[in-house]
Symmetry: C2
Subunit: 192 residues, 2 copies
Amino acid sequence: MPTPARTSTAQIVAAGRAILEAEGLDGLTMQRVAAAVGVRAPSLYKRVDGRSELVRLIALDVANELSTVLEAAATTRDPARDLVAIASAFRAFAHRHPEAYALLFRRLPESLRPAIDMGLPGFETMFRTVEALAGRERRLEAARTVVAWASGFISMELAGAFRLGGDVDEAFEYGAERIVAAISRRPAGERR
Amino acid sequence: MPTPARTSTAQIVAAGRAILEAEGLDGLTMQRVAAAVGVRAPSLYKRVDGRSELVRLIALDVANELSTVLEAAATTRDPARDLVAIASAFRAFAHRHPEAYALLFRRLPESLRPAIDMGLPGFETMFRTVEALAGRERRLEAARTVVAWASGFISMELAGAFRLGGDVDEAFEYGAERIVAAISRRPAGERR
DNA sequence: ACCTGAACACCGTTCAAGT
DNA sequence: ACCTGAACACCGTTCAAGT
């Protein structure tokens, strides 16, 4: 006799994300998630293949949200200003969802890799903005430089690695400005 | 009746590091470490306060080794070349010990933070080299920019995040050059 | 002193049995 | 169909008992 579903994959992912953010990745247990959606742990396996699959689904959810945030950040027609805005939006997102953010850049065995496509609109936007500054030929190296800097800065910041005092916001602004200039085809002063 | 110690903290840390590198952080269990040093899991608690303490000790060991590697990398008197060499040594270390490296930049509750002092000689060397390029006033922001870029690049690389093809080594060289230029004081006469 | 087995409270995961 | 309790193989950690 069929019984109605008491939960859904979407609800499980949402609950998992909430628990992740509140308790950290170690606190994200199948039992907690099950309790949050009103079910017992074994029932989760009807919709999700296991814990690592759940974590992967959460990471995909986070990537999508981040993508829309980045997309919305490029509002001017000036690529230099847009790129700074994109980097700042990236950082603000990480501050709002530090545990979720950490999920995006963690080391994983090849097989479990979350296929976070750089094809997501927000990353495309970033990529296009970089290309406008660095030129078609150097766009890949330039994009990698920008993303490496931004993600590294944020990871260190969230890991509490900036312990020498100073103004961290100011260091981010300094870095953003310098990096934008560094990847630009012409020195900033010559642009019009 | 006293029995002789069958292992030591140093041996435990070394075994733990080997297991970490071979099996990943999840594979680093007290039982495995115990087996590797020829003892049962409960005996580890005589020398180490628990698993997170063990991980902290391993992280400190890694930080010290990284420090000596960085220190040895600065061999010329040209700070620009030295800084590139330091960044490359940093990257090479991470490639040799990817799991150990990941330990250094992971998010931790404040209380468990591994007190990886920036006072370690290798980091001092890097800091001094940056200062020679960026000047005393901007050295903190400049150092943060360099380390953020390098650590971010390496994390992404090790996480398998560079999936758009292209030459990753070339992207690192490109980034290193551009960043060194970006944090350097402008030569006299050039306007901004 | 140091080491150990046994025990406890947790995990993730499987599966037969219930509705 | 979906959910569940029971079971299994693991964890980390504690502690009384052994040497």
